[in-house]
């Protein structure tokens, strides 16, 4: 590699943002914990932590975007960012894997065993007499009371269509960026985050329906637990992804990104495809099967 001075790997000088982030996390975690332990003030402490972290993220990203726009990042720095984002998404996949694992374990192991399968005849006969394993279930004690299953049609199907469409629109936007068609880029990127926010809104409607008319709640045994934790964490990721899409759309409107330099765009696109793939898994295993 040629050792031109301008081709040096950019090593930033000291930055205040990480320590601000750590202080934000401290405030946030202490706030949530004291709130969960029953002290009302914890809620306000938690919100102060959230605001600190939002400020940190804004400031940190602002600095990096500024550096990028002034051309301080060479191709090698760009590659570091790409790999960093890729492996971050991998860690997110593993986070969801834990919850999918809980779902599969419950359906294939713990529920059949509670129903007396394998060598658990006496567990069933003595502890849960007469209970037959089934899915969906809120367990042999019927935790949370009678409920309805959330079926695959209606809102979930519409949401699937929305997310799959948004995956197409962001790909069209990406191709438009590469071809230099800024108008198409702006339109299809805007469509993508609008579809994302509609998804989150409809997911909220679905939750309201579940709580008000189906008696399907977070407390509805293992079915409610896996349903709401999986779809809830996914919904949080869609929200975050849609905000990220909004941010890069604003950057596109300011004239950022070129055909050969657009790491942030691709990072957000990868993230969006990731939430899309997780949704397909959710649709198949949580709503459908």
């Amino acid at each position: 590699m040629a050792s031109h001075a301008h081709d040096k790997y950019y090593v930033p000088h000291g930055s205040p943002w990480p320590i601000v982030g750590s202080i934000g996390l401290l405030i946030l975690m202490v706030g949530v914990s004291t709130w969960l332990n029953g002290a009302d003030i914890g809620f306000y402490v938690m919100m102060a932590g959230v605001l600190t972290i939002i400020g940190m993220v804004t400031g940190w990203f602002g600095t990096v975007i500024g550096e990028n726009q002034s051309g301080m990042f060479n191709a090698q720095v760009d590659k570091s960012f790409r790999m960093g984002m890729f492996w971050f998404i991998f860690s997110e996949v593993m986070f969801f894997a834990a919850f999918f694992g809980a779902l599969f374990y419950a359906r294939n192991m713990s529920i059949p065993w509670l129903g007396g399968e394998s060598n658990n005849f006496f567990t069933n006969a003595l502890l849960w007499t007469g209970w037959e394993s089934t899915w969906p279930t809120n367990g042999p004690a019927g935790v949370g009371g009678e409920f309805e299953k959330m079926g695959p049609f209606g809102l979930p199907l519409i949401n699937t269509a929305l997310l799959l469409t948004s995956s197409v629109t962001i790909t069209i936007a990406h191709h438009a960026l590469l071809a230099g068609h800024r108008g198409i880029l702006k339109t299809f990127l805007a469509m993508t985050f609008i579809l994302g926010f509609i998804f989150v809104f409809l997911q909220g409607e679905e939750y309201i329906e579940a709580y008000q008319h189906m008696n399907l709640k977070l407390t509805t045994g293992i079915y409610g637990s896996t349903f709401f934790m999986l779809t809830g964490f996914h919904g949080m990721h869609v929200t975050l992804g849609a905000i990220m899409l909004l941010v890069i759309w604003l950057r596109v409107m300011k004239g950022h990104f070129t055909a050969d330099k657009h790491f942030a765009f691709e990072a957000v696109a990868w993230y969006w495809h990731f939430v899309d793939v997780v949704w397909v898994g959710l649709y198949v295993f949580v709503y459908w099967m």
Binding site: M1, G14, M29, V30, G84, G101, Y105, M109
Partner: protein, 536 residues
């Protein structure tokens, strides 16, 4: 925005460290961050060690002498959490920060600001964790494995425990991303993957393990949190969940976690043995493949931690044989280390002594692990002191000795001074004698039936327990010699760039102490110096 950019641009050419506390709070320098990691982990090592001494004092005699059983349980819990997440893991990350850029010829870690953040989350996490000892209901006392339903009886400490684990996970994940990106993207162009030094290789594989399992731990403790506060039924049989499910998810994290703590130790030992045997590492490539095999197998053996909890016979059989399979790549490593030393011109400076003790004593821990892998035997050993003896043999004369070896090996490179060799040797011999005095009798205690995590015991176990307690206090005091070596290091003779007798690797081509910025541009490489592999 433009002014901010101009500022950073100007500052970029400033090559010295910043003045005052700001240097440490805001730093993006891999050497500063490595130093902070190492000091932090040493602090945690002494805090966790103090807890171990409280445990051993209580167990010196049968009956209750010093502490309440509840506090005893919170000591075993906190000792483990602090030693695993606060001492051993950050110490290896600190070594990675210091040495990886030097070993691969990179100017710094790939993502320097995130590097700073991964460190500064740790004091927050452990500040929160330690503060739980003062809370109503006391610190967490469920064991570091946090099994429900027991852990759900924790007092006010419960959410703090959960969130401190989350923070440790966030820190580890960011650290792992940084290490992967640095190794893949920042190597000097002449260094192909297979030419990388073993410490770099083992850390690359370890970083993948971290990325794959820390999020799973985050998921598991999140389920605990929602079961406790939001009425979910993940670990409640009445609602269709299963407390055993937590154990499966936890150990899916937990077993790779064990290798996260030992693979970089393998790397350290694979650096040190060749230097002091004056021979290249025997079977460099097979070491790489063995490390990767161990990492792969670590994902399919987790249930051997829970053979007695109830699982189908086919499950027990699978996990037993998969576990025994790990002995094959581990054996490859041990034989390679021995072959490295075979007919070498060996000398026995302190790092070499610790590395040698590692090979021998870690292997003892490996063999007791093999015994524990056998289901019918494990049904007897489970939750006994035999298990305690096993994992302390792989962790203390395993991971911790490798850390000590690494500290002595690279200390002259970090400080520019030779440490006090006599004090170093004293530290080694005291540590080695006392570590065996502490943990070897625990094998007998376990085989005789003494359960772990209990503050009192039957009088028949008294003698071995007293021996173990004397050993523990001796081991703890021996570490003060290490502290003395560190504090007096600056008085030692100036170190040369090579420090040792013709060691291999790029870190020995820069002056001692290593300048604040090294390898601004990829170094021109003399292959016989830079790449241990080329000496095969």
């Amino acid at each position: 925005m433009t002014t901010a950019v101009a500022d950073t641009h100007a500052a970029h050419d400033d090559h010295g460290p910043a003045k005052g506390i700001g240097r440490w709070l805001f730093t993006t320098n891999h050497k500063d961050i490595g130093t902070m990691y190492l000091i932090f982990s040493l602090t945690m090592f002494f805090i966790g060690g103090t807890m171990a001494l409280i445990i051993r004092s209580e167990l010196a005699q049968p009956g209750l002498q010093f502490v309440h059983p509840e506090f005893f349980n919170s000591m075993t819990t906190m000792h483990a959490l602090i030693m695993v997440f606060g001492a051993v893991m950050p110490a290896f990350v600190g070594l990675a920060n210091w040495m990886l850029p030097l070993q691969i010829g990179a100017p710094d870690m790939a993502l320097p600001r995130m590097n700073n953040w991964s460190f500064w989350i740790l004091p927050v996490a452990f500040g929160i964790l330690l503060s739980t000892l003062l809370m109503p209901g006391g610190g967490p006392a469920s064991g570091w494995t946090m099994y429900p339903p027991l852990v759900l009886q924790t007092g006010d400490a419960f959410p703090f425990l959960i969130f401190s684990v989350h923070l440790m996970g966030i820190s580890s994940i960011m650290g792992a991303i940084n290490i992967i990106v640095t190794i893949i993207n920042m190597r000097t162009p002449d260094m192909s993957l297979i030419r990388m030094p073993m410490f770099v290789w083992t850390w690359l594989i370890t970083a993948y393990l971290l990325l794959a399992v820390m999020p799973v731990l985050a998921g598991a403790v999140t389920m605990l949190l929602t079961d406790q506060f939001f009425g979910t039924s993940f670990f409640l049989a009445a609602g269709g969940g299963d407390p055993v499910m937590f154990q499966h998810i936890f150990w899916f994290f937990g077993h790779p976690e064990v290798y996260i703590m030992i693979l970089p130790a393998f790397g350290v030992v694979s650096e040190i043995l060749p230097t002091f045997s004056r021979k290249p590492l025997f079977g460099h490539d097979s070491m790489v493949y063995a490390t990767a095999s161990i990492a792969f197998l670590s994902f399919i053996v987790w249930a051997h931690h829970m053979f007695t909890v109830g699982m189908p016979l086919s499950g027990q059989m699978f996990f037993m044989f998969a576990t025994m399979l790990i002995a094959v790549p581990t054996g490859v490593k041990v034989f390679n280390w021995v072959s490295t030393m075979w007919r070498g011109a060996m000398t026995f400076e302190t790092p070499m002594l610790f590395a040698l003790a590692f090979v021998f004593l870690f292997t003892i821990g490996g063999f007791s692990g093999l015994m524990l892998a056998i289901v019918p035997a494990d049904v007897q050993y489970h939750d006994s002191y035999f298990v305690v003896a096993h994992f302390h043999y792989v962790l203390v004369p395993g991971s911790v000795f490798a850390l000590m070896a690494a500290a002595y090996y690279w200390l002259p490179k970090w400080t520019g001074h030779m440490y006090n060799e006599r004090a170093g040797k004293l530290h080694f011999w005291l540590s080695t004698i006392f570590v065996n005095l502490t943990f070897f009798p625990m094998h007998f205690l376990g085989l005789a039936g003494m359960p772990r995590r209990i503050p009192d015991y039957s009088t028949q176990f008294a003698d071995f327990n007293l021996i173990a307690s004397i050993g523990a206090i001796g081991f703890g005091m021996s570490q003060l010699v290490f502290l003395y070596v560190l504090l007096t290091c600056k008085k030692g003779a100036p170190a040369t760039a090579e420090v040792w007798d013709n060691p291999k690797g790029l870190e020995w081509t820069v002056p001692s102490p290593a300048p604040y910025h090294t390898f601004d541009v990829p170094p021109p490489v003399d292959r016989t110096v830079a790449f241990p592999k080329d000496n095969d």
